[in-house]
Symmetry: C2
Subunit: 518 residues, 2 copies
Amino acid sequence: MKAMNGAQSLVRTLLAGGIDTCFANPGTSEMHFVAALDQVPGMRCVLCLFEGVATGAADGYARMTGKPAATLLHLGPGLANGLANLHNARKAQVPLVNIVGDHAIYHLYEEAPLTSDVAGFARPVSHWVRSSKAATEVSADGAAAIAAAKSNGGQVATLILPANTAWEEANAAVAVTPAPAPRPLVEDRAVAPIVEVLRSKEAAVLFLGGAGLSERGLHAAGRVAAKTNVRLLAPTSNARIARGVGRVPIPTLPYPLQEAIENLKDVRHLILAGSQRPVAYFAYPGKPAFATPVDCQIHTLVKPEEDVVEALERLAHALDAKSAPHLAQKRLRAEKLSGPMTPESFAAVIAQMIPDQAIVADESLSFGRGLLPATSNSAPHDWLQLTGGAIGIGLPLATGAALACPDRKVMCLQADGSGMYTLQSLWTHAREGLDIVTLILANRTYATLRGELVNVGVTNPGPNALAMLDLHKPILDWTSLAEGMGVEASRAEDTEGLMFQLEKALGRHGPSLIEVVI
Amino acid sequence: MKAMNGAQSLVRTLLAGGIDTCFANPGTSEMHFVAALDQVPGMRCVLCLFEGVATGAADGYARMTGKPAATLLHLGPGLANGLANLHNARKAQVPLVNIVGDHAIYHLYEEAPLTSDVAGFARPVSHWVRSSKAATEVSADGAAAIAAAKSNGGQVATLILPANTAWEEANAAVAVTPAPAPRPLVEDRAVAPIVEVLRSKEAAVLFLGGAGLSERGLHAAGRVAAKTNVRLLAPTSNARIARGVGRVPIPTLPYPLQEAIENLKDVRHLILAGSQRPVAYFAYPGKPAFATPVDCQIHTLVKPEEDVVEALERLAHALDAKSAPHLAQKRLRAEKLSGPMTPESFAAVIAQMIPDQAIVADESLSFGRGLLPATSNSAPHDWLQLTGGAIGIGLPLATGAALACPDRKVMCLQADGSGMYTLQSLWTHAREGLDIVTLILANRTYATLRGELVNVGVTNPGPNALAMLDLHKPILDWTSLAEGMGVEASRAEDTEGLMFQLEKALGRHGPSLIEVVI
């Protein structure tokens, strides 16, 4: 075989391990990896103008394909810029491999301007971190990173690549990535007590997360519900939910703690299936940390990293639940809607217009809280949510989902304040010609925080406090921002306008943006 | 005294410790701090739409005032978004206090969506990290944070504020921030050998960093140079240099390693005064890590954290260097320039038009490398540079400098690729009516990396590699981006156009942006 350097051996290793997409914002230390993209064909490398776009896109890609993409990031600061969306990816439990360049090993003994603790930055968001010691080890390290990413149902793995390990001569042989261990199966002794609970007829909720929200997982859960009347419920925020006509409809727990408590107040048994006990997003003075009543028993059918779908099917079998589940059926009528823009009218428009097999990247936050109930009977689609609470994920998530599924329409429902965090995504939408329609929900305020002021006990905020939540001075003009990055944009001020603009945008291929003034 | 909560006690402590400016992007956990801004008057709180803007602005503020500003950041992800510019601030050795909200202590036992290792994120960029244990300790913790920030010539201090320590009742008394220890003076035995070296007449460079680049530091160094013919030189990147007419002119070491080596090739003695031995930004295959010749002796007159100015004055005294130094004198003639935009014509325009007492926030990178030589004889000004190599600092630095010095014009010289990292700054420019003229140098490429490809030995990059450095598809329209955030914008395509637009922009108060197509 021909001699190759560490960077080339890494690209080959990634390809051999099934990674063929890389979201990149490279710098000097990554130039050999970048050069290797031409020497080793097969890697699609997507340029992002900010690292938070790259990491959020890798998350979206993984949610839709179930397999990892790579990111290519420049040293500690480049990784730092991507951390917030890596935090979200960690909470989404997706597989993801970060390749982070570093100075040559011998250069790290000096305090050069860009010298930093790269592994220190990586650790809080990574399940696995390693820095390559030599070019000859890069391939094995790469294979280990991929294996780590694919373990436990999806992890964030960060491989640090010192520059000299990229340019020095590597082994000709490429390390083979071991197949990940299959998700562990739950044992029958975990299923039996759940059967007992469900037969007791006491008020119970089957709380589905992770793969439990796939079409197959929901179908099994739906059979259980048809047999036992157990209530199906999903956490507030989820990596991906299969929804719409032909799927088992499932509501999500409301975000406001008071509403969540109300929702669960009569529940005696909460059965976890790929989810965790619903903890409040935040602590509030004098309020509980959990939405479940104190006398509610928590049971675990299956943990997120185990085989959730198999466990649900085994539960259905144990219950002899053979009847077909209730499926969302009623197609919404296409009708002209009009009137002012409200959360309800917005949700009604989206419900009608979600294209068949669309992917919805949802960071609509405060204005979008009516969307899920309204869209249960829409055309079949996948819904992606903000899993880790780190805002600025919607636009990047749409980027990765569109690259993962080029034949499907992507709708990005993006709150304006959060959208500003990673607006650079729009440039990649344009550059790659991605089939994404972005709706910016322009309330020109950090609206979530207005509610939170009251929740934490600030009942009479003064002008300085209110100024910190207000984005009116000056008003952000999202059509200008989008056009500045090459994305066609328009504005909708009422329901009729939104329908008109959305129909136009969905009727063509490629990126567009509608600023929805609310 | 009236009862107050932890947040109020912290705001009082900050004010008592001399911190009256806060760059903020708060979330739920920081709502009590935000509310306290109205209950405790005196804190100017500046909203930034992305945390990298807040941290870079705090850096710029500290560079111009010598005192810390606070940042207010939301949990781990909010801090993470600010890390890259905190890395730059750490390398600039400025005082800075981060206030990072966290979940209530008792809520941290649960894996809520936003739960993360906040201290883990903070450590790589912070000299000092503490998480408050109780509301009654918040004031003492705040005072300790300020003291840490002011120590050793300027440090990054990060105080983590769990939500319950903000809302619970605090001590009525506010902790007093101890005065920072004065910078240590160098001992005479450090000065004597330098005197020897300078009297030897062997080729020597006085390598000035930190406070050595203040007007007073340069004046003392200039007297030394006038007496001994020692060559004055500054590092490639510096927090702040006093420049222009009436100041001692000082060149900076070129960024390209080969040019730096050439610059220092005959030097036998490099005398460090507030600087460190000039290490290459990056390691390159087969090239040395240091720009100094192998037989060059390195001497330390004074370390960055010591009293650099006093040491230089003591050196001048020891040398009996009484003559006035050479000062930049010749005012440039105001003349109409025309022709295509080149690095030289651009530098000539800037040299003529820098306003008296202007502050220049320079992230011009590749196109701007001729600026410093051209502007030695411009009107007196301060020049701020990218200290840590983490791009995306220019626009935030200008933000902080303009708030620190409302009576001075700020010119922001911003490369386009880097500018995209923190373009959200422009909104704060508009919101606060800051007197900043931003020039975007639109070469529509990561031009620095084109050179670096060759430097690291990639001599024949293919189309995939070149695509990673190219920002032409689509072209960024910076006038649209600026107008989308409320900043008046124009475009200049040649030298004449730039002069015309710049004159107009400098003639009015408030923010504007000129996209300079190059």
